[in-house]
């Protein structure tokens, strides 16, 4: 078998595996849904996720240890990860191949020429790693993990989870029972599409110029024991090898070892055995990396170092926190959260109710594409017995909480359930408060026991135009002086007649000039002809008990005031930060 066939098979395999894991990262009882599938494995293999969170938290969480395997692979064999494993790299390579395959040899060679701008990705890497660095307390800043913006595995997972799979579902794949929405999907889709379409200009554009993981592996590949290079004789300078060089690393001349993505196309193309993968350095000489300027490096590292402290001056992770930003249950306090989240979108994919969405700028630029809850979208708020997101999060930005911790049940007595926020009734919009309409859908759906939403009963007089007067009674019927009422309107079971003396009876039905009461007037004195009667509507007005409310947002989801909900959850009193505590 040709070595490139093996490479293609490997790329195809890992690409399929990647898609499979994305599909499987859902809750359900089907074989293809989460049941121990290692759906985070490719993210775990990403050493950049591991190193960035190691710098920001000085710990290496759970599966991120797998990153060591990638490092080991790179140190021994070169950037095999980029050429053989990375699913995003495979997409680029395939599109780039389609775009260049019909071009003339000379044009293809030109496309795959080394370009000094390939140094950009190393500067990006320096920036991202410097930004992630945990600084001393006095700097008022923990590290800010931003690699997720451009890390190929985070970007690929995010794009497939939030763009491709929902699109495929709409086109009839039928994975999700209901179509899924993701707020701000446009930007995520645009970045993904741009990254892919740039291959039409230059093959593997993203890998060559942008990919910070590629840069990291490029730096490490300097130690590679085996490497691609020219043999001492045989080369006729035909440059066929450069026609399909994915890394643009110049195998015919002084090869850029750090840029070689181990596609091995050169090895396959060369008809003179002038290219070899061996321990000896290339006969034409080696350069480890593109020429990086000290200036460029210092500029990126310093701006990275300053990024987090400067951004935090806005106070978004401090006193100026955004109450409209509801983090998923188990999310760490904002600073610690930003020191871990890699924006991969796994939580958003697994959320069974489609309530976790990629944030826009709610938490500042730093928080772009981090998870937030949007109760208007999705099937039913954040289910208070669900802990899926924290168990999928590859970096523990959302902690893997237990069901007992979430619900506050079990364990020691007096434990409180976990709160992600508190619901507030907007009395200017709430139907029973502002519009004299019975409703309390929020109270009905409040899932905790005792309910956090309770009601107080009031009887408000209904606008009936002119005052009503009684002319007489006939059993349970109250005959009115004027035919002023809308027939049947008051027979819903919610309306009551208030008689002189304060007697209040439910109205069973009404015509234009009579009210039928729930029962005949018994022992009571019938109202004298001409005495006034008023119609009251019984309203149950909702209140929120902050001691019981967990911020699950089911009330907000169900509120019939659809545009701007009349009950609205904000992050007040969320458990993740003691500074956000609202009540004693």
């Amino acid at each position: 078998m040709r070595i490139v066939t093996a490479r293609r098979a490997s790329q195809l395999f890992f690409f399929a595996l990647f898609l499979w894991f994305c599909v499987a990262a859902t809750l359900g009882e089907r074989f293809w849904q989460l049941r121990g599938w290692p759906v985070n494995w490719l993210l775990d293999l990403d050493p950049l996720a591991g190193i960035a969170t190691l710098l920001s938290t000085r710990t290496l969480y759970a599966g991120l240890l797998w990153g060591l395997a990638t490092l080991a692979l790179t140190v021994v064999l070169g950037r095999v990860f980029c050429g053989w494993i990375c699913p995003f790299g495979a997409m680029h390579q395939f599109i780039g191949f389609l775009a260049r395959r019909t071009r003339r040899l000379a044009v293809q060679v030109e496309l795959n020429r080394f370009r000094p701008a390939q140094a950009v990705k190393y500067y990006l890497l320096a920036f991202f790693l410097a930004a992630a660095l945990l600084l001393p307390r006095e700097w008022m800043s923990s590290g800010s993990v931003q690699i997720g913006l451009l890390d190929p595995l985070c970007l690929a997972h995010r794009s497939v989870n939030l763009i491709l799979l929902p699109l495929a579902d709409r086109a009839g794949l039928g994975l999700a029972p209901l179509p899924r929405f993701y707020e701000g999907a446009g930007l995520i889709g645009a970045v993904f599409l741009c990254a892919l379409l740039l291959n039409l200009w230059l093959p593997r554009f993203y890998c060559r110029f942008v990919c910070p993981l590629g840069a990291l592996l490029g730096i490490l590949s300097r130690f590679a024991l085996w490497r691609i290079g020219r043999t001492e004789e045989g080369c006729t300078d035909c440059r066929r090898c450069e026609r399909s060089c994915e890394g643009a690393c110049t195998p015919t001349a002084r090869i850029r070892i750090g840029e070689c993505v181990m596609c091995l196309n050169c090895l396959d193309e060369c008809r003179h055995d002038a290219i070899a993968y061996r321990t000896r350095p290339s006969a034409a000489g080696e350069a480890l990396l593109p020429d990086l300027s000290r200036r460029g490096f210092v500029a990126s590292a310093v701006s990275g170092l300053l990024a987090a402290p400067v951004l935090r001056l806005g106070g978004g992770a401090g006193p100026n926190w955004n109450a409209g930003l509801i983090r998923p249950p188990g999310a760490l306090a904002e600073e610690d959260f930003l020191a871990r989240c890699i924006k991969c979108g796994q939580c958003m994919r697994v959320c069974p109710t489609n309530v976790i969405h990629p944030a826009g700028l709610e938490s500042g630029i730093e928080g772009l594409w981090t998870p937030k809850l949007n109760f208007r979208v999705g099937t039913s708020g954040c289910q208070h017995t669900c802990i899926a997101c924290g168990h999928l999060c590859p970096t523990a930005a959302i902690r893997p909480i237990s069901l007992e911790e979430r619900t506050g049940r079990g364990g020691s007595a007096g434990r409180r359930p976990l709160r992600v926020g508190t619901a507030f009734v907007d009395r200017g919009r709430c139907l029973p408060w502002a519009m004299d309409k019975p409703c309390i859908v929020c109270q009905e759906n409040c899932p905790v026991s005792p309910k956090a939403i309770f009601t107080r009963e009031v009887f408000n007089p209904v606008r009936t135009g002119a005052p009503l007067a009684v002319t007489g009674t006939d059993g349970a019927r109250l005959v009115l002086a004027s035919a002023a009422l809308e027939a049947h309107r008051f027979g819903t079971g919610d309306y009551h007649a208030l008689l002189p003396g304060g007697l209040r009876l439910r109205i069973a039905s009404n015509s234009a000039d009579a009210l039928d009461l729930e029962r005949p007037l018994g022992g009571e004195e019938p109202p004298a002809p001409g005495s006034p009667v008023s119609i009251l509507v019984r309203l149950q007005q909702p209140y929120v008990d902050p001691k019981q409310c967990i911020g699950c947002g089911v009330c907000e989801h169900e509120c019939p005031v659809l545009g701007l909900r009349a009950i609205h959850v904000t992050a007040e009193n969320e458990s993740r930060s003691p500074h956000h505590r609202m009540v004693l």
């Binding site: 209901l178 409703c439 026991s449 005792p450």
Partner: protein
Amino acid sequence: MSPEALVNRREFIGRAAKAGAVLLAGGGIAALARDPSGPGPAAPEPAASGLPDFALPDAGRKLCIVRSADRVRSLTLALQALGGIEAFVKRGDRVLIKVNAAFASPPLLSATTHPDLVSELTRLCLKAGAAAVRVTDNPINDPASAFALSGIGQAARSAGAELLLPEERFFRPLSLKDARLIRSWPVLLGPFAGVTKLIGVAPVKDHHRSGASMAMKNWYGLLGGRRNIFHQDIHTIIAELAWMVKPTLVVLDGTTSMMTNGPTGGSLADLKETHTLIAGTDQVAVDACGATLLGKTAADLPFIAKAAELGAGTADYRSLSPIEVAG
């Protein structure tokens, strides 16, 4: 000017023909697509006029009350007293069981129809020769989670029923003749395709807005859209639902009743062992009887009188001389 730069006749005609074709095509598309008045108000979707009548013509109005702590045994006894499942389900029938799977809540908390009743009823229907049994509901919580956590999904499937989660395509507008609220409203009609018998199975629950959630309130789960605006007139909608749905049989499970914090419950402290199961062909009477388990009377629940007024049944359940069975 060189002769080559001149257009020859052939080229000119060819060019003119292409230009003409472009103009013609453009004009044609414009003429076909021309819409001088712009869009008018949206035309209402054609609506179904109602559901089939699933009530057995000769079954009459029957009611059976079983007192037992074992709900499956209660169901068996109730059906025996009503003439056996064979009296309701004939060979070849396609049975739809409408459960209450509103919430993603475990069976222990009694916020949903108990899975044991679903599996037993399915088993009995199939034993009586039913060609197929379907189980459906449009839950309030996430449908997949609700059917999974309530245990109903598993119970239905393992007993041999087909589980139908609400999908968008299952909802079609329905206008109930002379109804005030059910007008062009999306209703879960998909699962009714080919169905010949309908059985409602619901738990007895407290409900702060309507007073109680029982057999008639269970049909709320057939509504789609933003159905919770009907809470503004809850008694009328329950009555209209009972009017719209004419079931073969309803089963109201009060083995454990949710006395407080309904309809979600959430704690064992909200429940009470009331050890009663009510089954019958008159859903109004079944609910009137069920109200007593919550310490209420039919008069406390305006929807019962309203449903009776619409002809869905009788509010005076004692007038049906209910068969009382002690388990």
